[in-house]
């Protein structure tokens, strides 16, 4: 075990993936010599050469189109989009191409070896173009997998699983935690399952669900609620698509209450999908309406970021609202 921050854990996973397969490549804007603007790919060009780890021109649609071609050919591309806010020029290549490659060809061709890494999320005074959480757009696209880790250990295990998964995976990295989140991470190879939520804290009164950077906030709210004698079951969804309905439903059957929180705006966010599914699965077990604590239905602000975000206090209030319903 070694103490790593999330960037080091991601770098370590990329190193393992490139080390085990000569056909694995890492590329994107500033990814080569510089090691990426956050340094997630630091040292990889030195170790594996310019032909496998390199800077691309500044064109997101090109990066993902190029990656689709590589994956179709049999290589294993790991493409970086510098900020999730800048993934949209590649939307066509992701949504119409990567996600539908296998389906449209009757499995004659696929881009299952594709992994797209991208830092997402707020809390860094980044305003509307360096803070977005676009997971719901991609969750609406059959054919993709969407994975979001909460800490360094999870990041390494889930990234290795994403790289080796035989479907295109978008791996959103909570950039607020890149250096802030540290923990023990095994130096050897390991994988964590995609599509499986993790129960972090068992409880009996309410189920609290989130993913990525929001887990830290959720835990803080659970701790506040514990002071009031409220027993919270805390779950990290880890994988947005596919998502682990069973673990969440089992928990809600037990607690009778569910709160889902996300950084992204409320309307048509992934929390809404969870709420719809769980009310169907657990209707007779619910003691109160499912709570969604989300960003407002506005772009991500700058000066009033604190007021906008789903912070621990808003979650804590929602927990009490649900309990006292």
């Amino acid at each position: 075990m070694a103490k790593m921050n999330m960037l080091q854990a991601i770098n370590n996973a990329l190193d393992i993936a490139m080390g085990e397969d000569d056909n694995t490549l890492c590329f994107g804007e500033d990814v080569g010599h510089f090691g990426g603007v956050f340094r997630a790919t630091s040292g990889l060009q030195d170790k594996y050469g310019k032909s496998r780890c390199f800077n691309t021109p500044l064109v997101e649609q090109g990066i993902i189109g190029f990656a689709n071609g590589l994956a179709a050919q049999g290589s294993r591309p790991i493409a970086e989009i510098q900020f999730a806010d800048y993934i949209f020029p590649a939307f066509d290549q992701i949504v119409n191409e990567a996600a539908k490659f296998r389906y449209r060809s009757g499995n004659e061709f696929d881009v299952g070896k594709l992994t797209i890494r991208s830092p997402y999320g707020g809390g860094i005074a980044g305003g509307l173009y360096h803070s977005q959480s676009p997971e719901a757009y991609f969750a609406h696209t059959p054919g993709l997998k969407v994975v979001i880790p909460r800490n360094p250990y999870q990041a390494k295990g889930l990234l290795l699983a994403s790289i080796r998964d035989d479907n295109p995976v978008i791996f959103f990295e909570p950039k607020r935690l890149y250096r802030a989140s540290t923990g023990e991470v095994p130096e050897e190879d390991y994988q964590l399952p995609i599509g499986k939520a993790e129960v972090l804290q068992t409880g009996s009164d309410i189920t609290l669900l989130a993913w990525g950077a929001q887990m830290e906030v959720l835990q803080k709210a659970a701790d506040l609620a514990a002071n009031d004698g409220i027993s919270c079951e805390v779950i990290d969804l880890r994988s947005i698509l596919p998502w682990d309905i069973e673990t969440i439903a089992n928990s809600v059957v037990k607690t009778g209450r569910l709160l889902v929180t996300q950084e992204a705006p409320l309307t048509a966010g992934f929390a809404s999908e969870i709420a719809a599914t769980i009310q169907q699965e657990c209707f007779l077990h619910l003691e109160s309406p499912i709570e969604r604590v989300c960003g407002l239905d506005t772009p991500y602000p700058l000066a009033l970021e604190k007021e906008y975000v789903s912070d621990h206090l808003k979650i804590y209030e929602a927990i009490k609202r649900s309990i006292n319903y």
Binding site: E29, D30, D85, G127, T298, L302, A303, E307, Y308
Partner: protein
Amino acid sequence: MSSELYNDGPIVHRPTFIDGTSVEIPELKILKQDGSTYDGAELPDMDESLALKVYKTLAFHRVLDERMVASQRQGRLSFYMAALGEEAASVGGAAGLKSQDMIMSQYREQGALMYRGFSLENFMNQMFSNEKDLGKGRQMPIHYGSSELNYMTISSPLGTQIPQATGYAYGQKLQGLDEVTLCYFGEGAASEGDFHAGLNMAAVHEAPVIFFCRNNGYAISTPSDEQFKGNGIASRGVGYGIKTLRVDGNDILAVIKATQIARKYALKENAPVLIEAMSYRLGAHSTSDDPSGYRTREEEAKWQANDPILRMKNWLLAQNWWDEDQEKALFEKLREKVLAAVKVSEKISKPHIDTLITDVYDVPSTQLKAQLEQVKVHVNKYPEAYPFTAGKF
């Protein structure tokens, strides 16, 4: 294949490549670093008063950048982007236009906005995201904009303004206005699909737009030789059938001359022009960046010797339009003014809580109003957690 679209060469009977770099592109240079002009150089239309306005704008630009980078280092400002060493491109571009022309920029062209007269207070209020910011404190520092000054508010995503500039200019043409649109972008952004869409549509639809590429050699850490091949961005203009000029971007007279000519042509012919201004980003990409990780001091030193502001000063001295005392007094006064403005702006309150939901639509929806009410109730319950807005509504 003969058509007026094609400039057919000779018919050949053996395969004959055209080399990807074979397009030769002249580069306009008027002013030498010592302040003298090249023999036979055609100077821009510029009298003493315009020359001094341009120079004072350059000086303001240099001082503001220096001070704001320092303020960021002191923790007073979250972020800044300087344009050190390439100020002539943005200031010169604006100086070659008329005030009614629209400017759409990327994010390193604050010089154009300075030239247009955006006040020091306006710059500061934007950077400190306070309640006096025209953009209502919503964007990161340096994302300025002013409808009064015909300067479109900056958007962080790269290249998006390029096809927009084409559309804007097409509208200007359709309405018969004495206006063009000038669109700034970097050589890195020229890799984006939007660049190609914007140029092609401007050529096809004959829009009076000036595409102004600041080729400063770097897109964050990526040098231009890893960004594109071929003869720079200018060769792309040729490919799209667009009149193209390359200029020394550190030569303010060449930049102004090129923009003046481009404006005349765009208006008269209803056609786009591409200008590629060759320069160098002497500073970091932003205050979040450290260029020592990807380039050498020696490389930077070469470009320091090409300082565009010093070059213009040398020219002004040679014209007897400027002297060293004026120089010293100007820079001292600017430094004082900028420091004083920082102290004022950083203390101004953040925008009102109601601005959370305004401007998402023309009027806030019922849903948004309800969301705002929930936030207000919550802020009142935990005022200590929301110091910017608590007790202020």
